[in-house]
Amino acid sequence: MTRLIDYLQANMKMLVIVCYVGLVAIATYSATVDTHHAHTWVEHNVPFFWSIFGFCAAAIIIGIASWFGKSGIRVDEDYYDSSIWLDDES
């Protein structure tokens, strides 16, 4: 398994192409699937709906986490042991 991973890392371009082909295959497969199990209108009527949803949801989560992380809530590891915090305590 380690060798396989080494091989894939050494042939990254090929791996990326395989992944893109896989994504196209998944999207194509989704277009052929019976949607009677779907619960909502958009699932029935928007092609590749879950592909779009998956990509957008991931991008939005990354965006929110990135913005939130830069909003001032990331602090030093010893924040609660820092003198500022302890001064407050005293």
Binding site: A27, S30, S51, F53, G54, F55, C56, A59, I62, R74
Partner: protein
């Protein structure tokens, strides 16, 4: 014990008490024997239905053995987890760590089988006090502080729960642990719900979880990730099913946990945030309250214990071998820890609900129940959270831990290797069960509280899942530079608790201390001065008035006694003469008085 019911918690407690005396070659077989016996007792109990092991306590009949499908499925997975967890930490020499873990398991099993609130409360507290030692036994620089914080929070939760139990007893007059009237909630309903919700890490009562689980010992975290929150899920399913607010709280948990996990740098803290998120699905399911939703919550609790313990075992192995838990100090470990990598990837796929892996058969039940009850907003947001789950747990964790940039120091890289055989065996069992449950869920479904009319293996579900995962992965690799771990901690709601704590300390140190000092001065000047003057007066009064009267009376008696003494000669004839004379004088006086 009553009939054929065997309380598994009793086996765990007796086993824990005897463990320190078992040494030498018998120790390891003993460590496996007790969890096997416990698991056997649970399997035996699964054949029963009803209430067992009643115990009269004051005016109440305590029920230690309520067996039904809900208690059976939770007890089964807890007992199985006790076996896997003990196997994983079998090489740990400190008996105390095993004893604490087994008491913790006993607390969980006791709560699950409890038929009344008094018994629930007793075992509930046993869980808290057993588990805190799993934090303290790590003996890290922060372990003591974190353990105390954990204990304080759970004690507060216990007090809230107890208040709810007492108010309920006052209102309805019984202690039966059953479904509350969630459509007409009273104060006690809320208190009981909050007491249970705190252990389920419901936002905003969740901060203890990432704080404690990331600080527990490498095998302590494997136990902790399974028992506290899922026992709380059981209690909420038992008492608060259908309580609307839980849907909202569950959705908030699912999303809040995702955002924090995405930002996290510590691998075990990431998993702890993941617990908050995943338990959110269960809480939402309990809030929806339909048969499908309760089945989904129960099934998800079972598979969650399997994959989460597997993930904690994988990351625990990294901690055990390298001493490190931060992405910024790790990376590229697939070469050094290939088996750990393999098992962890199975855990990652399982939590991501990848087809034929554990959560694939459970998460859809909860989301589907939301759609069926027209709570579409909840189901959409849970799907949104599910995408996030795959991103941080299916992609970020393995990518930055096993691939990505190698941040290991030379020393860390040297230490990195697959762990001991027992740790690998426990991970192998966990990985096998994740795949087994995910690909053939029949056994799991047969154990659920209600009949199951759900099949996860539809073509639509498969296409939906593959699309979500495939295109979320595309977004991850496109934007992964924004997810690069940073060696900083992320502030959470506990910042408010800590500030509130500091404010309390400030109040004690400043205004209260000032008032106390002032009061001491006032007392010294006014109180003690007045007291001294008053004392002087009473001293004078005592000396001159009280003593004067008493001493004067005593002096008079002494003088009179002296006078009388000279009249006494000591000869009886004089005494007879005086008595006869006194009697004659008295009679003459009486006669004269009568004649007059």
């Amino acid at each position: 014990m009553t009939g054929s019911f065997i309380h598994p918690a009793l086996i765990m407690v007796i086993g824990a008490l005897l463990l320190p005396f078992i040494r030498g070659p018998l120790r390891k077989p003993y460590l496996i024997l007790i969890p096997i016996l416990t698991f056997g007792a649970v399997l035996s109990n699964n054949t029963l239905t009803g209430n067992f092991a009643p115990f009269q306590f004051m005016d109440w009949t305590l029920e230690f053995g309520r067996v039904d499908k809900l208690s059976s499925i939770f007890a089964s997975i807890m007992a199985l987890m006790a076996l896997i967890g003990t196997l994983y930490g079998m090489h740990v020499k400190k008996s105390g760590e095993h004893v604490a873990a087994w008491f913790y398991v006993a607390g969980s099993l006791g709560t699950i089988y409890a038929g009344d609130y008094i018994t629930v409360f007793f075992f509930w507290e046993m869980m808290a006090f057993g588990s805190v030692f799993l934090i303290w036994f790590r003996k890290g620089p922060n372990s003591l502080k974190v353990g105390y914080r954990y204990l304080i929070i759970h004690t507060i939760g216990g007090v809230v729960l107890l208040a709810g139990i007492m108010l309920r007893y006052q209102a309805v007059g019984d202690i039966e642990f059953s479904l509350l009237d969630v459509r007409n909630p009273q104060l006690y309903t809320w208190l009981i719900m909050i007491g249970f919700a705190l252990n389920a890490a419901v936002v905003p009562l969740h901060s203890w979880l990432p704080d404690a689980y990331s600080e527990a010992s490498f095998n302590g975290a494997v136990f902790m990730c399974a028992f506290t929150t899922k026992t709380a899920v059981y209690t909420l399913a038992r008492s608060c099913a259908g309580m609307d607010i839980l849907v909202l709280l569950g959705v908030i948990m699912a999303l809040y946990g995702v955002i924090y996990a995405v930002m996290e740098n510590d691998i075990r803290k990431l998993l702890a945030w993941s617990i908050v998120s995943q338990v959110g699905y269960m809480i939402a399911g309990i809030g929806i309250g339909t048969e499908l939703a309760i089945n989904g919550a129960s099934a998800h609790a079972v598979v969650h214990i399997l994959y989460k313990s597997l993930l904690f075992m994988g990351t625990g192995s990294v901690l055990y071998m390298t001493g490190k838990t931060k992405f910024t100090e790790l990376g590229g470990l697939y070469k050094k820890m290939p088996l750990t990598f393999f098992f962890t990837i199975i855990g990652c796929m399982s939590i991501s609900a990848a087809p034929f892996f554990a959560a694939y058969v459970s998460k859809g039940m909860i989301i589907g129940a939301g759609y069926e009850t027209h709570l579409n907003w909840a189901s959409w947001l849970l799907m949104f959270g599910a995408t996030g789950t795959f991103m941080y747990n299916g992609l970020k964790l393995p990518y930055f831990l096993f691939f990505g940039k190698n941040n290991c120091s030379e020393e860390t890289w040297e230490k990195a290797a697959d762990p001991t055989w027992n740790m690998l065996s426990a991970m192998a069992i966990g990985a096998f069960l994740c795949i087994f449950v995910g690909s053939s869920p029949g056994l799991l479904y047969s154990m659920l509280p209600y009949p199951v009319h759900y099949s996860p293996f539809s073509a639509y579900h498969l296409a939906e899942t593959l699309q979500l995962m495939g295109f979320a992965a595309l977004a991850f690799f496109m934007f992964k530079k924004y997810l690069e771990p940073v060696d900083r901690q992320v502030l959470d709601i506990d910042w408010l608790y800590r500030k509130a704590g500091l404010f309390f300390v400030w109040i004690a140190v400043n205004p209260l201390q000032w008032f106390d000092t002032m009061w001491s001065k006032v007392y010294r000047v006014v109180g003690i001065g007045t007291l001294m003057e008053t004392s002087k007066f009473w001293s004078w009064f005592d000396w001159n008035v009280i003593d004067g009267v008493i001493d004067g009376f005593a002096r008079s008696v002494r003088v009179l006694g002296g006078r009388m003494r000279v009249l006494q000669t000591g000869q009886i004839q004089y005494s007879l003469y005086a008595a006869a004379l006194f009697a004659a004088c008295t009679m003459i006086a009486y006669a004269l008085f009568q004649l007059a």
